[in-house]
């Protein structure tokens, strides 16, 4: 009888390779799409800057992006100074952060340090549900309820309030981003080791002293990260400002006036019919790239801070 043979050569397994390829393709798809979008924005922006100078766009104080119907028309050139849009965006975001930062942080402190397991069990999901409300709902809430209310109250106090005010949009946007801050800050506060709480309480510090002097300082980088992410969400938010902040490009710091934002202008520029080679249309791409660069930077800084903080206690 022949000796039993040991076979080390096996059959090919093509399916394994196929699966690996499919997984790889799926993951590069997202990356390529992102790169494609950025490149197309960059290209259109470049075209825009052929017509309007970079200095005018970044430092110009007037925004009125009309284009001429006839060549000899008065004001045919339009003006493309983005400063009023940037200040409008910053004003509304600042109002939103003024609402969301304290509210979000305080509710995070309550949830992580004071709330019993039972209260936390229903309060946290409920708070996070705020984040699930579509922003268009917040938008008409801002336009139909909050803005008229502010106008009415302001009127009674003798203040002149525009029917679409920065304040209305900012307040509602603030409520919308509260869960972003509270949820992230709550995670960060929970990540502070219990040993530090015990050390402080064990020395006779009260709960409030412990939170103020040990827990929050230890969590500051993470909290700052959550603020930056929320700010970036506020800057990029569109529906609320389209519906409640208006389209008037006023250069003002008065929250009772109507202002407009980068996102609202992009919507306005691209709604309806337009020629694709006019400065008006192309300016939307320049604004988009500006917005993208800003939020990307904020997100990157925020993620870096949050990650660095996580490593510290792992």
């Amino acid at each position: 009888m022949a000796q039993s043979e040991i076979t080390l050569t096996g059959r090919k397994r093509p399916l394994e390779k196929l699966i690996k390829l499919a997984l790889f393709l799926a993951s590069v798809l997202a990356i390529f799409v992102t790169i494609g979008i950025v490149l197309s924005m960059a290209f259109e922006t470049w075209q825009f800057f052929q017509r309007v100078s970079v200095t005018e766009f970044l430092f110009g104080l007037e925004w009125s992006p009309q284009t001429a119907i006839r060549a000899d028309q008065v004001g045919s050139s339009g003006s493309f100074g983005a400063v009023p849009l940037i200040t409008g965006t910053l004003l509304i975001s600042a109002i939103a952060m003024a609402v969301a930062a304290p509210t979000g942080l305080i509710s995070a402190i309550y949830l992580s340090e004071y709330a019993s397991a039972r209260v936390r069990g229903w309060a946290k999901p409920l708070l996070e549900m705020l984040a699930g409300i579509p922003s268009v709902v917040y938008g008409f809430f801002a336009a139909l309820v909050v803005a008229p209310f502010i106008r009415m109250t302001g009127g009674q106090l003798g203040l002149e309030v525009a029917s679409e005010s920065a304040l209305a949009a900012g307040l509602v946007m603030g409520v919308m981003i509260v869960p972003l801050i509270s949820s992230l800050s709550d995670d960060v506060l929970n990540a502070v080791p219990n040993a530090l709480r015990e050390a402080s309480l064990g020395m006779g510090a009260t709960r409030a002293e412990t939170i103020k002097k040990v827990i929050v300082p230890a969590a500051i980088p993470g909290i700052a990260g959550s603020f930056l992410l929320a700010a970036s969400a506020a800057i990029g938010e569109t529906m609320i400002v389209v519906m409640a902040a208006g389209l008037a490009a006023n250069l003002t710091a008065n929250p009772l006036e109507a202002v407009t934002t980068v996102t609202a202008q992009i919507v306005a520029l691209l709604t309806g019919d337009q020629e694709f080679d006019s400065a008006k249309t192309l300016s939307a791409f320049a604004l988009g790239l500006l917005l993208f660069a800003t939020t990307l930077m904020l997100n990157m800084i925020a993620m870096r801070i949050v990650n660095k903080y996580r490593e510290q206690y792992d």
Partner: protein, 254 residues
């Protein structure tokens, strides 16, 4: 110096929810001695330690019955201020847990909270005195502004002891203070505990019977929520009265 015990515990029952963790513990703790609490894991020794400064209050479902008197005053009376109690009874934990602040700030944390600091020179004096007593001064005198977390494990634990001392407690509770340290750092801590006895009453929970034998004058053996026996350390280790103690110290249970 009074000969009375500084702590007298009588019929202390502790419950976590429905589960009873301690069954009628009665124990006297003499002043200016080191008392060690030994026993197998889950025997209730840490629970007992944590009821002496009411750290158990932090656990929602924990309930304490019976009396624990410090200098004759029941610490579970309604009029007792936990803040004042914990200033009087300091605690050092199993894992060194310095705050993510400078060495100086770590030591000064407690005195600041309790309003013991009126001036900058007060602060400097307390820091130096506390660090000297914890045997850490020489190693850190020239780098007080560095973070406490930059020290080695053993140094961190001595910093935590300095931090506890800074509040001027009369009792220091230590929950396995050397279990996270290497043998050399452990020896330093044990030596320190022996020195501290002159000024403070120390209660130490330990898993190591050798450590209990080295540092303590009195030992209490806990088993399954009961205080099995307590007495002078030497006696307990050489002539245990209870069979369970005998079995534990000879390594048959635990």
């Amino acid at each position: 110096m009074s000969k009375d015990p500084i702590i007298t515990a009588r019929d202390v029952n502790v419950f976590y929810g429905d589960k009873q963790a301690l069954n009628g513990i009665s124990l006297d703790v003499p002043r200016h001695k080191v008392t060690s609490l030994i026993g197998p894991s889950g025997c209730g020794k840490s629970t007992f330690l944590r009821s002496i400064n009411r750290m158990n209050d932090l656990v929602d479902i924990c309930r304490v019955e019976g009396d624990i008197k410090i200098e004759g005053k029941n610490i579970y009376d309604k009029d007792v201020d936990v803040v004042a109690l914990r200033a009087h009874v300091g605690m050092v934990f199993q894992k060194p847990n310095p705050f993510p602040k400078s060495i100086f700030e770590n030591v000064i944390y407690g005195p600041k909270i309790h309003g013991l600091i009126k001036s900058k020179s007060d602060a400097e004096e307390i820091v130096e005195k506390s660090l000297r007593r914890a045997g850490l001064w020489k190693e850190v005198a020239d780098r007080l502004q560095e973070p406490g977390t930059s020290l080695s494990g053993g140094q961190q634990q001595r910093l935590c002891i300095a931090r506890a001392i800074a509040v001027q407690p009369s009792i220091i509770l230590m929950d396995e203070p050397a279990s996270a340290l290497d043998p050399i750092a452990t020896a330093v801590i044990e030596e320190l505990i022996d020195e501290l006895r002159a000024k403070y009453t120390i209660i130490i929970v330990t898993h190591s019977m050798q450590q209990a034998a080295r540092v303590s004058q009195r030992t209490a053996f806990f088993h399954m929520g009961d205080l099995v026996e307590a007495g002078p350390t030497k006696e307990l280790f050489t002539t245990p009265k209870d069979e369970r103690t005998q079995n534990y110290i000879s390594g048959r249970i635990g």
